[in-house]
Amino acid sequence: MILRERLAAADLGGLTLSDHRGRMPLADLLRGTATAPAAAALAGRSVLLATGGQMAAARAMVALDGLAGRMVLVPPGLAPEHVAAIAADGGVESVVTDEGFPEAGLPACVPRVPVEAACAAAVERSVPTEWVLATSGTTGRPKLVAHTLEGLAGGINTAAIPEPGTVWSTFYDIRRYGGLQVFLRAMLAPAALVLSDADEPLRDFLARIGAAGVTHLLGTPSHWRLALMSAGVSEIAPRYVRLSGEIADQTILDLLRTAFPEARIAHAYASTEGGVGFTVEDGREGFPAALVGTRAGIEITIRDDGLYVRSNRTGRRYLGDGAPALMDADGFVDTGDLVERRGARYHFLGRRSGVINVGGAKVQPEEVEAVLNVHPRVSMSRVRARPNPLLGAIVEAEVVLRAPGAPEEAASLKSAIIAHCRPHLARHKVPASVRFVPDLPLTAGGKLLRRAP
């Protein structure tokens, strides 16, 4: 499967790719020729795709798939030293870039190909291109995960004919796994696609996708919480609401159901390393226990409360010298996500690495956040370890209120929120303290930022 060939075989009449600056027909993505000067510099090479915006990245991805041997996607907001690191790990031989991408961090002795020149290039005989994504880890150097296009598209029904009038969009950047899923859904359908922009105010983005008639919209639960707090939410009317990238708790699912009563609401379990595991559409948090086991194209197993996936949708391997193995000897990828079975359903507890250790008793921040978020005054929350000389750490919560409270009610409201947690959580998991904050930072990937500050 080659993106360009799929698009060339489809009826692209009227379909467009758009961003905050403008729009272009999807048919314009197919203008490249094998005689273009850049073709030789890109054919079969390991190419770093480092653009300022998503529009240029989208166009270059279509041009490079089938042309480059490997395409390393530089996610937005990456520090220069991390750009340099992934260029090295990816064995990069060419850089496709534009004036919007800072020079710092790009490898010095490697040919530069402007995006426009890359988009003018094509190849006579396409070769499968390895797609490489950077992990969205919250600390340190990102890891590179190599995928095949077939694996990335493994959760997409590529044989389905899209509903007429389908317009995709996502809060994500398409150079991250979640956003790339939306890009591929649009390209493989094909369907119109509206791109977000990191510098665009949320309210403006919502107005823009509302005006563009977006029908299918993907974001993390944190993206959706912010959107529901924005006045711009009244501008959109998606038929399909999709969540991925973080645990979708019952509160956010219910809020979305209320906001979009007619929409299909789906929460997907997916990650850069593990690929798309499954999608749940019954409106309930967690996932049916029946999904564990072997189904078409994917096997899911639970070991030591951790979720493991074996499938051709998972990453193939990490790139770089000394990179650890992505999968175990049996081909299973450890997702690092912890689950707990309650009756006929599994619930996510959070990341194995994110546990707070309260005097030897483990606390998953996400479990506490899910309880906090049920409180009617709470919009979103972040639970973290607070160092404690007696137990090593205790649980502290930062809370964003739905509407700011009066200063004189702060103390009683904190007590009420903590009291609300007590019946639902073991006592060491109940926040010892609550702080009200005006907002909580998200990572470039749209997830709650868990590291300091």
Binding site: V358, G359, N388, P389, L390, L391, A419, R427, A432, S433
Partner: protein, 85 residues
């Protein structure tokens, strides 16, 4: 409110929240003899830090370890004095 009142109030509040029945909190009450357990103590330290800005437990000598409520009050008193100095 005096420092003593602040501490006694915090102990009583935490004990109530944690469902730990406590005898009257007097100066000679030995903390470890009550149901006020390590988690209660950890919560007390955090709450006192929020209210007074000091955490004498973070750098203390074994000899400073408070046994009675009176010791605890004295420990916080010294920490507050030390910070003010």
């Amino acid at each position: 409110m005096t420092l003593r009142h602040t501490i006694v109030d915090a102990i009583e509040t935490i004990a109530r929240e944690q469902d730990k029945p406590m005898p009257p909190v007097t100066d000679d009450l030995v903390m470890v003899d009550t149901e006020f357990d390590s988690l209660c103590f950890a919560l007390l330290v955090a709450r006192m830090e929020d209210m007074t800005g000091v955490d004498p437990f973070s750098d203390m000598e074994v000899a400073d370890l408070p046994v009675t409520v009176g010791d605890l009050v004295a420990l916080y008193d010294r920490a507050v004095q030390k910070r003010a100095a």
